[in-house]
């Protein structure tokens, strides 16, 4: 048991630079803004004829996906390649673990191949923290989604998209709609919006899809779209997984759609210039109406484009932080242990 400050500092160098990117929680507004600014410069670059910079030349990035993914994996791969890194994609969801190998052993094996960065997706909350703490402290770990806990690059690409469309966060009212309970995206977005100073963060869902004490994260809870969407500037829809219907969480897709699906009628409650976002992949007719998803207020495809830029930003920042840190390492686990408890 280590003091909370130790865990808050785990992804930062003593100078406050990123060396891993595990969660948004605990990061400063300054650092988040730096990520967005860096990403902005890559957005411009990605539109150029030559889409490549040598920031990660000679480095090896391993995408370790213990859980299936298409778009996150491919945008991370593209991001790494545009930074000139060598990329190794490993789909581990079915190979090692089914042979009884522990996560730690899998990681140790990969570490022995001298990778410089692990991009990790795992179904267990805290997996990225575990890897950064116990397995590979010298390798930069980027969290590409751990259980229900965090998906920090997704949150940052959403912040970039919001900033591009709305400028500043200060006066924004943002509503996040749908399966908050199982959503790592929602948790990371809530932290990011709060840190960047959003005026009001709302979550809209039935009680079965809301974690207990979600208000403690600084959000207002609504159970009706008509009230929750009123006067919001940004509507973020979450993906609803079909498996949820097989438990007592929801009776049916159609009932969910009629209550919480984003239709043009419901979108009318929001501000006239409100934007609509979705982390994808979208379920048309379950959480969102096609006319809204493809409509003028939808920025869903901008999100995907921004995803590459944000991932490039985070990867280059973490790699430079990790390099500086290994040169002057000081904050070790043993020095953090206290006798206070």
């Amino acid at each position: 048991m280590l003091p909370k400050e130790y865990y808050d500092a785990i992804q930062l160098t003593p100078e406050g630079q990123l060396k891993h990117f595990l969660t948004i929680e605990g990061l400063s507004p300054l650092l988040l803004t730096e990520i967005l600014d860096t990403a902005d410069s890559f957005v411009d670059m990605n539109a150029q004829q030559v889409k490549k910079v040598p920031l990660l030349r000679g480095k090896t990035v391993a995408n370790l996906f213990f859980e299936a993914s298409t778009r996150t994996l491919s945008t991370f791969e593209l991001a790494a390649k545009r930074l000139s890194a060598d990329v190794l994609n490993l789909n581990i969801s079915t190979s090692s673990t089914s042979k009884g190998e522990t996560l730690k052993d899998t990681l140790m094996t990969l570490q022995a191949m001298h990778c410089d960065m692990f991009v990790v997706r795992h179904s267990a909350s805290g997996a990225a923290h575990f890897i950064a703490q116990h397995v590979t402290p010298d390798v930069a770990v980027i969290n590409a989604g751990d259980g229900r806990h965090a998906h920090p690059t997704q949150a940052m690409l959403d912040m970039l998209t919001i900033r591009q469309h709305k400028g500043d966060f200060k006066n924004l009212k943002v509503a996040i709609v749908g399966d908050i309970l199982h959503s790592r995206v929602a948790r990371s977005e809530i932290h990011a919006l709060r840190i960047l100073g959003a005026n009001e963060i709302r979550v809209i869902a039935p009680a079965t899809l809301l974690p207990k004490h979600i208000e403690s994260l600084g959000v207002k809870v609504f159970t009706e779209m008509s009230r929750g969407l009123r006067d919001v500037d940004v509507v973020i829809m979450l993906r609803l997984q079909r498996e949820r219907m097989q438990t007592a969480l929801l009776p049916s897709e159609s009932e969910f759609y009629s209550l919480y699906g984003l239709t043009e009628n419901k979108l009318a409650y929001a501000k006239p210039d409100a934007i609509v976002m979705h982390p994808g992949p979208i379920n048309r007719g379950v959480e969102i109406e096609s006319r809204v998803a493809d409509g003028p207020r939808s920025v869903i495809l901008n999100q995907v484009t921004n995803g590459i830029a944000v991932r490039m930003a985070v990867m280059s920042m973490a790699m430079s932080g990790q390099q500086l840190n290994t040169q002057s390492s000081s904050f070790t686990e043993s020095s953090a242990r206290t006798e206070s408890l």
Partner: protein
């Protein structure tokens, strides 16, 4: 063999003794407490206990020794040696071994191995149902004759209330003690920590308070109906304390204990997915912890146990939800309990009572005291000595404790079992 323990502060809650004196032991039993030896007494051995506390050996109401079945995590020899080093002289073992303690042979095996090791008195808890399946009654009478002192279905579900009712009726017939480790199967199925603000933040599946309170309520009603001798082990919620208080006010003779970590830690301590804090029942909210601490003061909780669950190293080396729950606790039971005195929650003699006389009364044992004539199970500890919890200091095979690397105050110097020194630093 006569041993005199000289000059210690002797605390024996049963006799309301708290005095600096000598403790005279004669042929394995307590002879007297005083300043001069009884007439004709010659000491073969003298233990210097100046500036130390001398108290009855601790009685730990719930432990896992892991043998038979999971000897990569702990063995009866290793864990009973650890218990002696922690000042414990009597402990109860979980029936959840492999094979399960639902036949006399397994109960006898555990006691034989413990006797061979010779460190502590090991009292097995028998399974309430065969295979802990929650369906068919285990041979409670035969198990009692083979040394089982109580029965439990551990944290495994008794889904069928009729089966539970029959088990309690049968146990009541022979005045057997049933221990409830209340946990509703459905509400706790997927969870790995307390369902609250911390679990919401970390995205970990929660175990709601109701997982415990629903089961406590059901059990209390059936206890009332059957009149069975009943005890609740390792409670974690304030509401459970209230339920038991209310039942006791109605005249129900139920007792309860708490694991030491639930009195000191809470869900907010589960920072950074620290798997050493993954435990069942889960560490609850600060309010629950306050309620448990109050329950200790008002005596609704009359004993503190270690809920010792040694694990091998790899069991905790995974993301939080994929690790095995459990805290290794035999050797930290006393020093962690002493924190309650330092925090001014209770006085030292009161604390000693929760670790000795309290559990003895729950079990109906005549030990847990230093009265003359009882077997000399004695713990001598230095309340001021500090030590660091690490691989070198822990004898238990389980190094899985959230206090690993911490410096703790209060160290056992010597443990006597039936007048025999079984541990000496």
């Amino acid at each position: 063999m006569n041993i005199v323990i000289e000059g210690g502060r002797i605390i024996d809650p049963a006799q309301k003794i708290d005095t600096v004196a000598n403790l005279y032991i004669h042929q394995g039993t307590i002879l007297a407490i005083g300043h001069e030896p009884p007439e004709g007494y010659f000491a073969d051995d003298t233990l210097d206990a100046r500036n130390k506390i001398v108290c009855p050996g601790l009685i730990d109401l719930f432990t896992h020794l892991r043998e038979p079945g999971a000897t990569q995590k702990g063995s009866i020899a290793s864990e009973t040696a650890a218990a002696a080093a922690g000042g414990i002289t009597t402990l109860l073992t979980s029936p959840a071994t492999s094979p399960i303690v639902d036949t006399p042979a397994v109960a006898e095996l555990i006691q034989d191995r413990a006797a061979d090791a010779g460190f502590v008195r090991v009292l097995p808890i028998g399974a309430l149902t065969r295979g802990l399946q929650g369906e068919q009654l285990a041979p409670l009478h035969a198990l009692t004759r083979s040394g089982c002192v109580a029965f439990t279905n551990a944290r495994l579900p008794m889904v069928d209330s009729l089966a539970l009712l029959r088990c309690l009726e049968y146990a009541a017939t022979f005045d057997l003690l049933v221990i409830f480790q209340a946990q509703d199967a459905g509400l706790s199925r997927k969870g790995c920590m307390h369902d609250g603000a911390s679990s919401a933040r970390m995205g970990l599946e929660g175990i709601p308070e109701a997982a415990e309170t629903i089961e406590v309520s059901r059990c209390l009603l059936l206890i009332e109906q059957t009149g069975v001798r009943a005890h609740f082990g390792q409670l974690s919620c304030e509401r459970s304390i209230q339920l038991i208080d209310a039942a006791r006010k109605r005249g129900l003779q139920v007792t309860a204990d708490v694991a030491i970590h639930h009195l000191l830690l809470c869900d907010e301590d589960v920072n950074g997915f620290d798997s050493s804090l993954h435990v069942q029942p889960p560490l609850r909210s600060p309010l629950d912890r306050a309620g448990l601490r109050q329950g200790l003061v008002t005596d609704t909780l009359s004993a503190i146990c270690s809920d010792h669950q040694p694990l091998d190293v790899i069991a905790k080396q995974a993301p939080f939800s994929e690790t095995e729950p459990g805290i290794s606790g035999l050797e930290t039971l006393l020093p962690l309990s002493l924190k309650l005195v330092e925090q001014k929650l209770i006085e030292l003699p009161q604390l000693i009572e929760k670790l000795t006389l309290g559990p003895a009364k729950i079990l109906g044992l005549d030990s847990g005291t230093l009265q003359s004539g009882v077997q000399a199970d004695v713990c001598i500890f230095d309340p001021e000595a500090t030590w660091t919890v690490n691989d070198q200091s822990l004898l238990s095979m389980g190094k899985n404790t959230p206090y690993y690397g911490h410096s703790l105050k209060g160290r056992v110097d010597c443990t006597l079992l039936g007048g025999r020194i079984v541990f000496k630093r």
